[in-house]
Amino acid sequence: MAHAVAEHSHAHEAHESHESLKVLGFWIFIVTDILIFGTLFACYAVLHTHTNGGPGAKELFEMPGVIAETFILLTSSFTSGLAMLAMHKGKVKQLISWLAVTAILGAVFIGLELKEFILLVEEGHKISSNAFLSSFYTLVGTHGLHVSIGLVWMIALMIQLARRGVTEVTKRKVTNLSLYWHFLDVIWIFVFTVVYLMGVM
């Protein structure tokens, strides 16, 4: 009996250190993702004046939608933090609800961004129009793609949480997801500043 208990606690410890290992790995993945966005920002910085005679940022961007997107994403970053708080208190239902709120905010963000893109394309400002628009769509679109993947991940996690509750494994997964979500918020702040604010300045 004592042997079994000892073995169990050993297993538990090994498991826990294994989960913290995965959080570190995910951090490093996020850093590599920062590099991805950094390179896209570099492209945007070099190419944003290359409009080939077409309209530039000042003429194209509609600020109200972008401002709404920004505050929505900021709020979702906050709500994903509240989800973390609920998780550390072990409250599964609360955790799932906060994640659901975060996901809905994320979906609204994506919807607004798509609307902006569709409007621009309908006016004839496509990714193939000039180098400025190529770099704009790619930078903002890559962020949007990340948010969309985050949404799928979030839904998958909510299902897992409902099935399994808060365990060492699901805790690690929610922690990683929430890191990812905060990171996307940070990236958006820079998109907002460099692309939109500096664009309409």
Partner: protein, 108 residues
């Protein structure tokens, strides 16, 4: 291994409601300031760029400390070190590209 010792301390380490609310307020304020500056044209071009970049960086720091809890976790903090090197290299990539490609605008 060393990580076992710190593994059980995380009950207190994940921020409180207060820190999340505080972080949220800071980030809202740090978004509104540059917005007001730009939309109303309060400063000249260079000043605006510098101010709003500083605001963005402050925002990054707020998110790191209040939301991502970068101060926590076991030591040594490999994640923070990786992040710092990553940021340096991102800066190199962006600033380096602008500098190197600046010949382009002189040529054109």
């Amino acid at each position: 291994m060393s990580q076992h010792q710190t593994g059980h301390e995380h009950a207190e380490g994940h921020g409180s409601l207060k820190s999340y609310v505080l972080g949220f307020i800071f980030s809202i304020v740090l978004t509104i300031i540059p917005l007001v500056i730009v939309m109303n044209g309060l400063l000249n071009k260079t000043q605006t760029v510098i101010t709003i970049m500083i605001m963005a960086i402050l925002q990054l720091i707020v998110q790191l400390f209040f939301f991502m809890h970068i101060r926590e976790g076991e030591k040594p903090r490999w994640n923070v070190m990786t992040l710092i090197v990553g940021v340096i290299i991102v800066f190199t990539v962006v600033a380096g590209s602008i500098w190197i490609m600046s010949f382009n605008s002189t040529v054109q």
